[in-house]
Structures are given as structure tokens and as C-alpha cells.
Symmetry: C3
């Protein structure tokens, strides 16, 4: 009757609104990445990294509009499939409210792409960046999204009928510690290895390793912190928004829990990473100092780590996941330096390492009661909740699958770019910086007015 039909309209409306809200916040993360990355690089490469971040969003939109969305979710059916095969160019959309879903998913794809920008900053060619970011949002990311989030994916937990399913369940990666952050993070790691470190970072002019790696100073802490806050803010779209709907008791519970666990994990990640670093440094130097980079990246590490399990773990578990996330960041960051792998903004420790930790953590902490509310009708749960190990295995398999897929596809891709001479700017351009060599001048001009004029005015 009429009441029920009006009710249906309200439900559609509220759920669409929720996706628009969450999508807008996730989109805003693009500017968070832009500010964080730009703040982290040297003054001579600010324009370049900013432009990469802006083009990312655009390339992500076009890649996901044309083929990415189709490969990820197109013509969703229950039959197992490697990739989707419908809705190319957003055609054959049956109900226009589905455009909200596309918008939300586009913002996720763009996030995966933008993670790489920071790692390869200050030395990667613009053309290489454009190639890989369209490739990533158009194909590499959609395959992973399909495998884990589409009903036909081989690791999905959102399937009707689990009989023929991987260990009868699939993986829990609620908002994408694996799907988004590991995909971006693994790509970043491979790119960093193939591309090599920035000049003067680990080796001197003659190619001999430096005793102490040279730490390039971030050019603006203000931009870094602004970026961090914007990212944290955007995460309130990323994680609660992954409930996708909010018009029922259950979905409201899921979204609310996500907001709380996200907050707690970010806080502990920040505090753990920074104070652990302070203590380590104090033992060496005898003086207490507080490092902003540790605090920022610790918070981001905690956020990445809670992303997979935000809907299925209790607040205390979020506390632990974030805490360990801070250490994971710290340890992996130091490991990269030891391996002489140069990550200009530490995106690999934040997104790859903590993405992995986040997916695995679900295998320990996932609470069956929360799983049920979040819509995971599966037969296993976290090891600390008496799970039979099936979920844990699924989580490990997901990690392995993401690493393997990205590695197999992106490694030859980056080597081809390198062979073609399209990957890295030439040494002199790198010394001068990309802003002057590729973008028509420096990012700032802080010169004030002519002194004589000022004096004349003052008279």
C-alpha cells in the first residue's frame, strides 16, 4: 500500500544519501594525500606531487567510469568469475540511485592509486605515473575488488549460498585494509624497488653506500598535519560508509561501531608510534624529543590497520590493533631504510604493512556476534573467539592473493616502463627538482614588495 511504498522511497533516499556523504568524505581524502605528500617532499617537487594527486582523482574517475567499475562489479551475478563483464561506461544502469554506488567505489579506487604517488615522489616521470594510475584503477584494483567484494568473487564473503565457497566463507575485509591499502601499498613497494632511491638518499655521487642514510627534510609540516587530519576525517566516510546502507537497525549498529573503532585505533597508533620512537631515541641520545612524522604516520597506520575489521571487532580490540599498528609502522619504516628502499613519504609502512596487519588481525579478533550484525553469515570467527581457524586461513590467503596478484602484474609493468626510459627523470632534472624542470617554475614565490616603495608609502 501507499505507506509501504513511501517507506521504500525513504529507505532508498536515506541509503543513497549515506553513500553520497561517505563518498564525498572519501573523495576529500584525495586532498589529504595531496597535502601530506606535498608537505613531505622538498620544496623543489611540490607542484609535481600536487599535480599527480589531482590527476589521480581525474584518472581514477575516467578509468573507473570506462572499465574499472565494469570489471569490479559490472553485471553482478552469483556465478564465480574472475572479473565483471557489464556496465562498461556506466551503461545499463537499471536504477539511477546506483550511481551513488559508483561514486563511492570510484573514490575507493582513486585512493588505491594515490597511495603510490608519495612513495615514488621526487623522481618518477609524469607519463609513467599517468600510465600506471590508469592501469591500476582500470584493471589491477578492479580484479581484487571483484575477488573480495563482488558476489561472484572467489574470496567474497557476500555470497548467497556458501556451499562451493572457499572454506565455506571468504575473507572479511570490511572497508579494505587489503583491497585498497595493500593494493596501493604493494604497488608502491614494487615501484620503489624498480625505480631506485632518490639521488643522495642512500648512495653518494659515485654510487657508494652512505654510512648514514641522508634524511631529506619535509618542506612543510603544516601541510603534513593538515593532510593527516583531512585523511582521518575522510576515514569516517571510508569505514562507516562501507556499511553501504544505514536504513536499518543492523546497518546503523555497524556504522556506529566503525566510527568508534576507527577513532580508537587511530589514537593508539599515533601515541604508540610516537612515544616508542621517543623512547628509542632517548636511549641513544639521552634527550626526549617528539617526532611529528611518527605521530602522523602512526595515526594513519592505526587507521589502515582497523579498516579491515572495523565492523567486527570490539573497541578493546581496536585499541590493540591500533597499538600494534603503530609498532608495525615503526618497524617496517626502519626495515625499508635498512634495505635501502626509498619511500619518500613512508606510504609502504603505512599502507602495505598495516594493510597486511589489518587483514590478519581480523583472524584473531573477529567477534561472531558482530560478524552476524555486519552481515557475515559465516561459520568461523577470530581465533581469540574460539574460531576454528577457517577465518584465519581465509585472511592469510587474502593477503597472499593480493600480494601475488599485484606483484605478478605490476612488476613486469614497471620494468617495461624502466626499459622504455619512461620511468625516471634524468639526474639533472632530479637535482633541480621537477617543478622547474617540468612545471614551469617553483611552487612558491614569497618575495615581498620593493623596500623603496614600502618606505615611500610609510612617509
Amino acid at each position: 500500500d501507499a505507506t509501504v511504498s513511501v517507506q521504500g522511497g525513504i529507505i532508498t533516499g536515506v541509503d543513497t544519501f549515506f553513500l553520497l556523504f561517505a563518498g564525498a568524505l572519501v573523495f576529500m581524502m584525495q586532498s589529504g594525500f595531496a597535502m601530506l605528500c606535498a608537505g613531505s617532499v622538498r620544496q623543489k617537487n611540490v607542484k609535481n606531487i600536487m599535480l599527480k594527486n589531482l590527476l589521480d582523482a581525474c584518472g581514477g574517475a575516467l578509468g573507473f567510469y570506462t572499465i574499472g567499475f565494469a570489471f569490479a562489479y559490472g553485471g553482478q551475478v552469483d556465478d564465480k568469475s574472475f572479473i565483471g563483464t557489464g556496465n562498461f561506461f556506466l551503461t545499463d544502469i537499471t536504477e539511477n540511485q546506483e550511481y551513488a554506488g559508483w561514486f563511492f567505489q570510484f573514490a575507493f579506487a582513486a585512493t588505491a592509486a594515490t597511495i603510490v604517488a608519495g612513495t615514488v615522489a621526487e623522481r618518477c616521470k609524469m607519463s609513467a605515473y599517468l600510465c600506471y594510475s590508469v592501469f591500476l584503477t582500470g584493471f589491477v584494483y578492479p580484479v581484487i575488488a571483484h575477488s573480495i567484494w563482488a558476489t561472484g568473487g572467489f574470496l567474497t564473503a557476500f555470497r548467497t549460498g556458501y556451499d562451493d565457497h572457499f572454506r565455506g566463507m571468504g575473507v572479511i575485509d570490511f572497508a579494505g585494509s587489503g583491497v585498497v591499502h595493500m593494493t596501493g601499498g604493494t604497488t608502491a613497494l614494487i615501484a620503489a624497488v624498480v625505480l631506485g632511491p632518490r639521488r643522495g638518499r642512500f648512495y653518494d655521487e659515485d654510487g657508494n653506500p652512505l654510512e648514514t642514510p641522508h634524511q631529506f627534510q619535509a618542506h612543510s609540516v603544516a601541510l603534513q598535519i593538515l593532510g593527516t587530519f583531512i585523511l582521518w576525517f575522510g576515514w569516517y566516510g571510508f569505514n562507516p560508509g562501507s556499511a553501504l546502507v544505514i536504513s536499518s537497525e543492523g546497518s546503523a549498529q555497524v556504522a556506529a561501531l566503525c566510527a568508534a573503532t576507527t577513532t580508537i585505533a587511530a589514537a593508539t597508533g599515533c601515541v604508540t608510534a610516537m612515544f616508542t620512537d621517543t623512547i628509542i631515541d632517548m636511549m641513544a641520545t639521552g634527550e626526549a624529543s617528539y617526532d611529528l612524522t611518527m605521530a602522523m604516520n602512526g595515526a594513519l597506520g592505526g587507521l589502515v590497520a582497523i579498516t579491515a575489521g572495523c565492523s567486527v571487532v570490539q573497541p578493546y580490540a581496536a585499541l590493540i590493533i591500533g597499538m600494534i599498528g603503530g609498532w608495525v609502522y615503526l618497524g617496517f619504516s626502519k626495515l625499508l631504510i635498512k634495505l635501502r628502499i626509498d619511500d619518500a613519504v613512508d606510504a609502504v609502512p603505512v599502507h602495505f604493512a598495516n594493510g597486511m596487519w589489518g587483514v590478519i588481525a581480523v583472524g584473531f579478533f573477529s567477534d561472531p556476534k558482530l560478524q552476524a550484525i555486519a552481515g557475515y553469515n559465516i561459520t568461523s570467527s577470530g581465533l581469540f573467539y574460539g574460531g576454528n581457524g577457517d577465518l584465519f586461513i581465509c585472511q592469510i590467503v587474502a593477503v597472499a592473493w593480493i600480494v601475488a596478484w599485484v606483484t605478478v602484474v605490476m612488476t613486469p609493468f614497471f620494468f617495461l616502463l624502466k626499459l622504455a626510459g619512461m620511468f625516471r627523470v634524468d639526474p639533472l632534472e632530479e637535482e633541480v627538482g621537477l617543478d622547474i624542470s617540468h612545471h614551469r617554475g617553483a611552487a612558491y614565490d614569497l618575495t615581498g614588495p620593493n623596500k623603496d616603495d614600502v618606505e615611500e608609502l610609510m612617509e
Copy 2:
């Protein structure tokens, strides 16, 4: 019964919430404009432009509270009228949820005003700016909003009973390519002509035209990009929010479509403008360089262009509208330089030229099925969908009406300001910059600590 009454409450609640959400995002665009404009000017005028942007928001609130809202929508009736005549000072509001509508509309009015700030930057007197921005939000803009968006407006498409209506339909300007952006853009263009270019931009000290116009360098690309991202983010309130409600199937479809078309047009505008510029420049210089200003303004041009039709065009059309939007920006920007009209932030090409293109584009691409969902119960559609030309004519008439009205009202206004000596700062103040001459000092003080103290500490 009770269920229905509760349902009515939910509907009111959801729709009010939607307006508050969208209004907040549109308000945030004020800071986007502030950052974009401030980043685009020279260091000596940063405070001035920032203050203008802040006062804009305040003046807009006061102008729209006192008379603007009343003129635009006050005492809405179906009888044709030039301006509204009720609800001055927000009195006689029957239902308090209508305040959400005022809030949303205020944010639009403030946007129209703030567009001008950038164009006249670095030389316009503060008092002139205050005068025109209250005049614009209190009277000029409301007349246009009334004519197109109020039920009594002579070009409105939101009328019950279209019999005596202009070509039986009215214009489609869903979120205001014309109403907001052309109004601001036309004002900016007139102001730029009357005010004249900045010293040293097109003419030397003696008033002789320079062979090559002098390009003043933007003082901070970081602020420009931040502003661009914030504006893009805010557009997700501007365009989907113009559905005004979200509690029904149809309105949800409209808002969702708007988010998708907005995204796609922004992306193509960015890509088209930047790469076209790169190619043109490469043909001249032989070297590829990528210009951030082109990318930013291209994206904004695409956003302005899709604003009129975001709810009535298909995604593929958004792609084309954005693409052409990028070229429109590029071409109009070069045209202004050729005409020696000085626009400090290229707001005229972005808002005026693309506003016009956006309104006209609806005449080509408007899809009758989408029109029906968006609530346009009219008898014509876009030329590419077999429209009989009536809609196209309406769109052209709207463009002409906006240009004519703004020109007729603002031209004498600016000339009077000029005659009264209230429009432009004196030459020495312009050389020194407005920050020192009008705002008690420079915007930045980046001096670090005393070297001796640092050395003493380090010992």
C-alpha cells in the same frame, strides 16, 4: 494514523538533514575560494584577498538574512512576479525546518558574491568590495534566483500549470551554472573592465602596451591546489544538494546521478585543459611541461559547466560537457589576455564562460527521461534527444537574460564607484601591496630563531 504521522516526521527529518549536509559543504566552498584566490595572488596581497573572502561569507549571510532571501523566495506564490515580497529578516517562517532552506540558499548567494573577489584582487578597494557584495547578495542575485528558481519567476521550470509560461516550460538550470556562476562571472567581467588591469600586467610605466603581457607568479601552489580540492568537495553539496529533498525514490536517483556526472565532468575538464595546453606549448617550445593552473581551472571549468545539467544528462554527456568545458576555459582565458582584460585568478573563464556553456549544453544533451525524474514536467528536451527546440531557446534566453540584467545593473554601479574614487587603490598602495597598506603588515613571517641562541642551545 500514527505510522503515517511518524513517517511524515522521518521525511521532514531526512530532507532537512540533506539540506544541512549540502549547505555545510557549499559553505565550505568559501574556504576553497579563499585558498585558491590567496594562492593565486602575490605575497603582498594575501591578507587582503583572504579577508575579502571571509567578509563575503558574512556579508552574504547578512544581506541574505535581511532582504536577499525575501527578494528571491519570499512569500512564494504562483503569480508571476519580478521579486519576492515576504519573509524579510526571516520573519513569518511557518515551519522552522524552512531555516534549512535559507541556510542552503544563503550558501549559494555567498558563492555568487565570492566569485568576483578573485578577479578584482590586488587592486580593488575594500570599501568597494563591501558595497558591491552586499548589493549582489541582497538584490542582483535574488532577482535572478527568483526569475529561474522561484515558482513565480518568469523563466522558472518549477511552476504548477505551464499554460501562460515562457514557451510553456522555462529554463533548466538545475544547480546554477547560470543563476550562480554566470551571475558572479558576469559581475567579475564587468568589474575587471571598469577597474582596469593591475599595474605592469599589460602596460609599462608610461602606459604603453607590453609586447608580452607580464604573468604574475602565484605565490603558493599549495594553497591553490588545496582550494581546488575543497571546491570540488563542496560541489558534492552544490549539485546533488540541489535536489533539495532525498526522501523519495526519484529524488535519490537525481542526487545520485548528480554525484556521478559532477565527478566525470570535473575529471575531463581537468585532463582536457591541461593536456591541450601542454600540446600547444610543446608545439611552440618543443618541450612537454604540465601546468597546474590549467589542470585546476580545467577541473573547475568542468564543474561549472555540468552544474546546470547535472541531473538531466547521461554520464557520457557529462564527459563531453566537461571536455568542452576544459577547452572553453582555455580559449576564454587566452581571449581575455588578448583583450587586455586582467582577471587575477581566471574566474571569468571558469565561471562566466563555462556557466554559459553549461546552460547551453543542457539545450543539446537534456534527456527527457531524466528530466521527468528530476521533476521537469516540460514538453521539450535537448536537441540531441529530438527536442523541438523550445528548450534550446529557453536556455539561450536565460543566458541572455542573466548577462543583460547583470550588465544593466552592475555597469553603472561600478562606474559610480569609480567616479567616486572608491573603486581602486592608489598606485603606490598597489605597488606596496594591500597587506602592508591596508592590513597592518605582511601575511607571513617566516623568520626563524636567532642563530646565536640556536648555537648556544646546541652546545
Copy 3:
């Protein structure tokens, strides 16, 4: 039946969504404070203040997760109580959607803490800051929140059955001019007094008072204005969000009104403060100049002032409250200087003085019709609406209670910190700045590329 049950789900969903939206905006205010404070200090203390703001958010999350929420709202019962006693560590949450409430309230607690950061900037030790901010969010603030906003609080207006209640009603502090802003502001004032002024602000090297206090220049107006806009934006979560629900006619009316009154008060506060300052200055110097700090802090003062009454006053009253708010800011700022109390960002005039004015203003302007819609079922109203004085007395008592409680608890706390030598950095560190002495280097490195390299490239 089913329809009703679905309806219940929608209501829960919409209200939860509303809290998540509002909470995210309030959280974003953290970055507003960070930018505003960082912009206001000298270049040598940027990192320090940014880190304090980031740790604030984290400390607030942890303090409010562990004990703060429990003390404020835990195990809410109607029996009068000093503090709450349940839900420590977010345990015993019966319905998961309550996590959204926690998230929203955490953001408020973090706001109260962060207000202090700016006042004590440039001289306060990191350890002191950490101690007090955990103490504030974990205990001091929760006691006040409990007394005014929990059903068991002795001044609450949200009680079922008012018979044994303070003057039969309790205080109206809708979104926390008192609970949040006065709590933070009073703490800031006490801290400033105990800590003493920055070196060179009011006294010379030998401790003799300067004839004219030394005004340290803000290092970046761009950050200040960005922060101001973000705060204003966040206020659309702070004030409308304090309706807590939006799924009914009444709550929608409340939230909508809040958006309008908030906007109007911000605008008048800005305009009043700045132009009054311009006039005063013009009478002294003969020249008109416009001060950005006045405009920003005036807007923020207006926002703080309307926070208590945003849901119970008419728009015209918001205009007056904001206008007076601008003057309150201006006067209190000058008073602090006269008293030689050094507030590095003028947070005390904005939050303490205008918080007080906001609570008192309700006693004059509160409209009984609006009170009823906002859920205040009380027997008195504002003096200008024929109130019998009971409400006015409640408002005064609330002001006195907040000042008294914070003073009694925080004064000894800060003195103990001072005695323990934990409160203030040593003089040389202060001269050098906290960034170099505690955070491993300066916040900016704007050095461009090597000139020789640039020349080589250009050839």
C-alpha cells in the same frame, strides 16, 4: 507489524547517520584549531603546536574511551549523581548504535581540551600538556557534562520529572557555550595566569614591564584563515548536531534553526569586531585599516556565543548575540593585555568570555515556543519573553558552577605542575623555539634547488 518495525529501523538509521555526520564535522574542528593556532604562533613553534593539537585528539579519544564517557554519561539513571558510574572502556553497551553517541561526545571532549593548546603555546612543556589534556577529557570535563547534559546531573534540563529539580528546570546550554567552551576557556585562563607570559611579551629582559606590550606577529595568515573557515564549517556539526536526533518533525525544526542562528551570529560577530576595531584605530591614527585577527576571532566569538542558545532563540536574537559577541571578544582581549595575561591565540576572549556571554544571553532571549520544540519542558523562559527569572538564575548558576569547578580543580593542578618544574620550558629553549629544541628541527624548509644546477638545466 512489519511496517512499523521497518520504520523503527529507519529511525535508528537516520539518527545514527546524523550523529556520524555531525561527529565527523566536529572532529574536523581539531584541524581547524591546529591550523588557526599554528598560523598564530611564530615560525619557531609551529611543529610544537601542531603536535599538541594532534595528540589532543588522540588523548581525548583514549581518555574518553577509558573513563571520560563513563563519568559523563555512563549507566545513565534519573537519580541525581555527581558523576556517571558505568560503561568504563565502552563495556556494557546494549545497542551498538550507541557508539555513534560516544563518537559525537568524544569529539566534544576533544574540543574542550584543544581550546587550551593555543593559549599556552610557545612556552608550555609537552609533558604538562599531555597530563592536563588527559585529566581534562577524562575527569574535569565529564563532571561538567554530567551535571548539565546527563539525566542525573544537578543542573540538567533533560530530566523526567522536575519536581526536586533546581528551580524546577535546569540550565539551557544546548550545544555547550558553557559545557565545552567555558570549560576549555576557564582552563586556558588559569593556565595562562600560572604559566606567565611569553618572554618579551610584557616584560623586558630584566623583568621590567614594557610601556607597550610587544605584539608577536602571526607567522601565517593563510593558516589562520583556513583554520577559521574549518572551525565555522565544523560548527554546523557542533550546533545542529546537538539535536542528537533528526528523524522527527520537531528535531528537524531544531537542527534547521540552529544552522540559521549559527550562521547569523558568526557573521555579525565578525563584522562587529572588525569594524569596531577599525573605527577605534582610525580615531587614534587617522587611517582606516582592517585587521584579520579581529575578523576571525570576532566570527569565532559569535559562534561560541550562539552555541548555548542556537535552538531556542530567534534569528534576530542571533544577530544581537553575535554582535555583542564581537564586542565581548574585543573588550576581553584588551582587558587581558591590560592585566598582562598572555594568551597566544586569544582563546580566552573567544571561548571563555563568549562562552559566558552565550550562556547568559539565553537568560534574556530564550523563546518559550522554541524551548518547547527543542524539548525543554520547563516553566520559565528568557527575560525578554516574560520569563519569571528562574531561567535567568539557572543560567547564572551554571556560569558560576563551571568557573568554580574548573578553578578549584585546575588551579592546584597547574601549580603542582609548576612546582614540579614540569610546566614551562627553560628560557633558552623558549628563545630558540620549541621546534628545534624538542622536535628535531624547523617546521619549514623552503630552500630551492642549487642555482648552478638550475642554470645547467636551462642551457
